[in-house]
């Protein structure tokens, strides 16, 4: 189960001679940082890292803001059309991304947003929104309405009640969903591959795909680069894993 991860990390620390060997050993014989040096000095690493950070940052911030508003409406208010709105959120979540590539590409090229990070950010926001709204709604439902009502009775306006009472209580939920959006935006490959054509705009997954060219694949540096790409996700993932798993299935279990 864990072997591929083990094999990635150990390969990344092996010297070239041990990697290009017809008798690979499960337990590494020697140790070297060369692959990492080669990976980070490979053309485009810094650019890809910066691009990924930009994309992730804006995706997370904007989607969280937009979703926070929407989730308050869905979890706390009654309004006409709510059922349709909720249904459409769940529905779009199931749209196969691969099937939408064509119109998305044509739309963004008409808006002059292909090969621009802004175009990718915009699509990422839309793609993480349904899940983020749905999850925030779940967190909100677990906070008793009485707390806000008490604040209103004590003379707070509604925005004040949200800011002083609701948001602090929601902080853990916001952090968890922010990390979820982070992971999605950091990992996404297909959309970025279609929308970003120039190397200057490559994100980390695109950069990783670039290790294979006509002449083959440089496995050692690729494994080092893969390890580097995975590390932030591993760190953030271990922080939220239990929340995401229970969040998705809890409702189904309750029936």
């Amino acid at each position: 189960m864990g072997f591929p991860v083990y094999w990635m990390v150990t390969t990344s620390f092996k010297p070239k001679g041990d990697i290009l060997s017809t008798n690979p050993t499960i337990i590494p014989r020697s140790f070297s940082f060369n692959n990492y040096v080669e990976a980070v000095t490979k053309e485009g690493f810094l650019r890809a890292l910066i691009n990924s950070v930009i994309v992730v940052f804006f995706t997370v911030i904007i989607s969280l803001f937009v979703a926070l508003f929407a989730s308050i409406a869905v979890a706390r208010m009654k309004f006409r059309g709510k059922r349709t709105y909720v249904a459409s959120i769940l529905l779009v979540q199931m749209l196969p991304l691969a099937a939408l590539l064509i119109p998305l590409y044509l739309l963004l090229s008409k808006l002059n947003l292909t090969d621009k990070l802004a175009g990718v950010i915009l699509t990422y926001i839309a793609f993480v929104l349904p899940f983020v709204i749905w999850t925030l709604r779940g967190f909100l439902m677990n906070i008793p309405v009485e707390l806000e009502e008490a604040a209103l009775v004590d003379g707070c306006t509604r925005p004040q009640a949200y800011r002083r009472v609701l948001f602090p209580l929601m902080a853990p939920g916001l952090v968890a969903t922010a990390i979820f959006a982070f992971i999605q935006a950091w990992n996404e490959f297909l959309l970025a591959y279609i929308l970003l054509s120039s190397q200057d705009n490559a994100t980390m997954p695109i950069w990783l795909a670039g290790f294979t060219n006509r002449f083959g694949t440089d496995w050692g540096p690729l494994m080092a680069a893969s390890t580097i790409t995975a590390i932030p996700v591993v760190i953030f993932f271990s922080l939220i894993q239990d929340r995401i798993a229970t969040g998705i299935t809890a409702g189904a279990v309750k029936g």
Binding site: V5, T22, F65, R83, I183, G255
Partner: protein, 304 residues
């Protein structure tokens, strides 16, 4: 009578807030998801190639694209291949994931924590990272899998696993299923821990045997979780693109075409966007039936 009217208009006034709150998300989803779906539908009835891109408008051809696709034997071959491939990945990942979850419940807590940590680690692997590692494990030169098979006494020397499409799809599907396992087994494990212990004890005191306990208590609680996981897996696995694309170095042969790759090649490869759109729409429609149950289940949660 008049009082009722006043009450209504007050209610309508206070009701503007929720619409303001959902407006931004509505605009974003409408622009990036809603409009493309609409565009996909209209495109599928148009001839839209390089000339039309430059002209900025497609030429209406009615059902022409659909007729051409549905009359093409390659389409049916690819559809069948995609269904088999999806069925294989879904069943393997659900069976192994379920098995792992049921084992985890019975495990010693220390071993369970170790297994859990490994699952999280696998779960955290970005798609491109896991594809890269699997490609390395099954590469033509210096592959650890080939070396292991050789050391067991089977002489393979260098072996290209992708010449044979069956072994190729096995490896690609294995990589997909491996990536999906953690989510599946952790979800089922979470559901298993929700099965109330006192309920089982009470049933046992009343004389129920273990099969009856499973049939009447555990199974009804687990069923919706399994159904949701199976629906989600079908949605995800049916549209697998990046795995096939990268395993075959961005130029898969026609033997490796699945629906997603086929639609992509038709549009971005051959610049026949209308036909690509028609294929994509067939893909969405094929998934609608399967996902119907999932949607209903989620809607029930939305009503709470």
């Amino acid at each position: 009578m008049s009082l009722g009217v006043v009450g209504q208009s007050v209610a309508r006034k206070t009701n503007i807030w929720p619409y303001l709150l959902i407006a931004p998300s509505f605009v974003a989803l409408g622009l990036i998801l809603g409009f493309p779906v609409y565009k996909l539908i209209t495109l599928s009835f148009e001839r839209y190639g390089l000339t039309e891109i430059i002209a900025g408008a497609g030429v209406f051809v009615g059902l022409g694209n659909y007729r051409e696709i549905l009359w093409d034997p390659q389409f049916w071959l690819i559809l069948r291949r995609t269904i088999f491939f999806t069925a294989g990945m879904v069943s393997v990942s659900i069976l192994v994931g379920g098995l792992l979850a049921h084992l985890m419940i019975k495990m010693h807590p220390v071993i369970r924590r170790i297994l859990n940590a490994i699952l999280i680690l696998v779960w955290a692997m970005p798609q491109l990272v896991s594809i890269s590692v699997w490609r390395w494990m099954f590469s033509f030169d210096f592959s650890i899998v080939t070396a292991t098979i050789n050391s067991l006494g089977f002489e393979m020397d260098n072996h290209n696993y992708f010449v044979n499409t069956f072994s190729g799809f096995m490896i690609i599907g294995g990589c997909v299923a491996w990536g999906a396992l953690p989510f599946i087994s952790i979800s089922i494990y979470a559901a298993l821990t929700q099965v109330p212990k006192d309920l089982i004890e009470a049933a046992e005191i009343d004389g129920a045997n273990s099969r009856q306990v499973f049939r009447n208590i555990t199974f009804p609680i687990l069923l919706p979780v399994y159904i949701i996981l199976i629906s989600l897996s079908i949605i995800w696995d049916f549209q697998v693109f990046s795995h096939i694309w990268i395993f075959l170095e961005s130029r898969p042969s026609a033997d490796y075409y699945t629906m997603a790759i086929y639609a992509f090649q038709k549009s971005f490869g051959l610049s026949e966007y209308g036909k690509g759109a028609a294929i994509s729409l067939v893909m969405i429609l094929a998934l609608v039936g399967v996902t119907g149950y999932y949607l209903r289940q989620m809607m029930r949660m939305g009503d709470e």
